[in-house]
Symmetry: C2
Subunit: 406 residues, 2 copies
């Protein structure tokens, strides 16, 4: 920065005349950065400056690491084969250092501020801002008696929230994945634009969406050093259960009451839903099935009831979830929507887990929805599509006499 | 990511038992990352993994680049001398590649997602979340007829905004610096916590704060390639004036009407203020003095009327700003507050510019406030202090008969 910092920076956002090429700067770039670029065949060009490096690798998390090629000007480049549509996380490995690309917007994923490139989906504009009324996304802070800390969440308010000062709204609690944070569903997922568009078309009821921080530790809890304690080890699982429990308590004992006090909600189970992706899907199943007095709509996006541990196991619907599914007819009345989804290109373990859960629910005659996102991986395009299918199904049953009692 | 991505990530946020040292993880770290660390003497420890790199430099933007030392485990480390309090931007240069530190929260600065470390200021809690009512920060989107694009802004709503559904509020338009974006005043500046605390103590009137994107280009405008056209060259200045003008038009013709339509504002000049830091200060002086029918409170934080070009020049208050200062008494009635500030450790050019502006205003008998932040540089601690001094002075004169007419 120094003396001319503030001046240099004015110059930094200039956009230059387009090159004669099908490749265009990605919408996920910072300011007017020319790279990454995407062409009409969904190929991606990455360019990274590292004049003195001996080896630079490009690491798209959905694919293999590849070596970038060094040019005379100190830039390293790589052009990918055609990629699936959606937002693809990546990092760059410079002589062994895994870093983000300064040319990309930074998105919080993988427990760090990573890079990502947006590959457009032909004909899909449901997650893009359009000429429709836009809701607001509010950032809120609340002090948690469970964690003993200030916690932070994002709240989507539907377009008419400020104008309809007497109206009250149902609430969807929507959780990010592991290594992401409360900003994920807005910055990566575009949940606000998805809802704006669904509400404008009349296919979805106006609702409030609360996006909380999925990580919590009880006040005073010190996590033991897990070095050498792999996933699945008793020590690891104990810590994971502890943290899942802290999140469950914070959400049900602190966050939900805070939201119902702060916003014009309809504070009952018929008007409260929860969904989440990956780790957030696991949290959703734990929280909702332990608190069916609070929730009546449940969604697992590429993550659900202990999917990570299921492997090829099946779920026994007679005993699972405290027996809440033992009577399928009663369950169908009590839980208005049980929704699970997975991308067809997700890792085998994940796909198998969701498919087995779907099969188990079918064999148990448990009313549910199983959605498969064609050609997408364990990535945000799958979860954008999930939300687009899930949201219109919410709060439709709320008027049923059988379920309107709290 | 792949199969176990969502599992790995659960483990990623574990906090380990503290080492027996005065060094503590910085509050600006991601999740529970142990580095950067800060000790009681405001020394900062940075650690960065680059096992195969031959040279790694630490680049604090407020200081010189320094070589980091490589340890056997592939980590490079550096401990700084005591640093000034506040949030210090930095990057790391790995074999010539300037990148951010994955252990740090990413803040948008220098036209990229940079790293920064928060060095606490002893006894200063005015910018920290406290047990007081908290306002909300709303993210809004509006389509601009000036730029032809969707634009994005942050809006701070005071704590009682939702409860007092009949109340209307004055508005402060608060701009970020060059190379930053609309998120800067919240994520780096903590403007929401500063206002929460000032409002709770009764020293500041509840107000709405609008933080817009300071970069704009008119629809269809293609910025010429400025390669080889240094700052100050006619080509550069022409482009800069063009962009400043586009921002001015977007703010006065699109954003202000949108805000007054969307929120419960008091839509007149007596209840509208503008301030900004660095480039945002220059924009503030241009916008407010070209539109004194819209604004009556003006703040320049480390940036003001063409300060960047002043060098040792003086400002002729008889002719400057369309002659609006020619009559000091009339000016004092019309502009309720003219406020400029600078940090005592800022670069000489910046300090000289503000000091000369202060001197010129004094010689011209122009009523104004000049504030110097002791020991701080062209960095966020200066601007946090500026806001703390500036905000309580706002909207106090609004009741004066002499100025209450629009």
């Amino acid at each position: 920065m120094k003396a001319i910092g503030f001046v240099m920076l004015l110059a930094a956002s200039f956009c230059f005349a387009q090159e004669p090429s099908d490749f265009q700067p990605a919408t996920s770039n910072v300011l007017d950065s020319q790279y990454p670029k995407v062409d009409g065949n969904s190929r991606v060009q990455i360019r990274f400056r590292a004049p003195d490096a001996t080896r630079v690798k490009l690491n798209f998390w959905s694919g293999p690491k590849v070596d970038m090629e060094k040019a005379a000007d100190g830039y390293w480049t790589f052009t990918t084969p055609p990629m699936a549509p959606g937002l693809h996380y990546y990092t760059i490995i410079v002589d062994g250092a895994e870093v983000s690309d300064p040319a990309s917007t930074a998105y919080f994923g993988g427990s760090k501020w990573a890079s990502a490139v947006e590959v457009p989906e032909a004909g899909a504009n449901y997650y893009l801002p359009q000429e429709v009324p836009h809701g607001q996304v509010s950032e809120i802070w609340y002090h948690s008696s469970v964690t003993g800390t200030w916690r932070h969440a994002f709240v989507y308010l539907p377009p008419d929230y400020d104008a309809q000062t007497k109206a009250r709204y149902p609430v969807l609690y929507l959780q990010h994945g592991g290594g992401e944070d409360a900003s994920g569903w807005i910055r990566q997922g575009k949940a606000n634009f998805i809802l704006d568009n669904l509400i404008a078309s009349g296919s979805t009821k106006p609702m409030i969406i609360v996006m909380a921080n999925g990580y919590a530790s009880r006040a005073g809890y010190i996590v033991p050093d897990l070095t050498g304690k792999p996933f699945g080890s008793p020590e690891f699982m104990k810590v994971m259960q502890e943290r899942m429990g802290a999140f469950e308590d914070d959400m049900t004992q602190v966050l939900i009451p805070f939201i119902d006090k702060t916003f014009r909600t309809i504070p009952n189970r018929d008007h409260r839903a929860m969904a989440g992706l990956s780790m957030g899907g696991m949290q959703t199943f734990q929280v909702t099935f332990n608190h069916l007095d609070l929730f009546s709509y449940v969604g697992g996006f590429s993550g659900a009831a202990n999917v990570f541990a299921m492997g090829n196991n099946k779920l026994d619907t007679k005993t699972a979830f405290n027996g809440s599914m033992a009577d399928p007819a009663a369950f169908a009345k009590r839980v208005h929507l049980l929704w699970i989804g997975v991308g067809t290109n997700e890792p085998e373990r994940m796909k198998t887990g969701l498919e087995n859960l779907n099969a188990s629910l079918g064999e148990g005659k448990i009313q549910h929805v199983f959605y498969e996102s064609p050609g997408t991986d364990h990535e945000w395009q799958t979860w954008r599509r999930d939300l687009k299918d899930f949201a219109p199904r919410l709060f439709q049953a709320s008027a049923q006499p059988a379920t309107s009692a709290r």
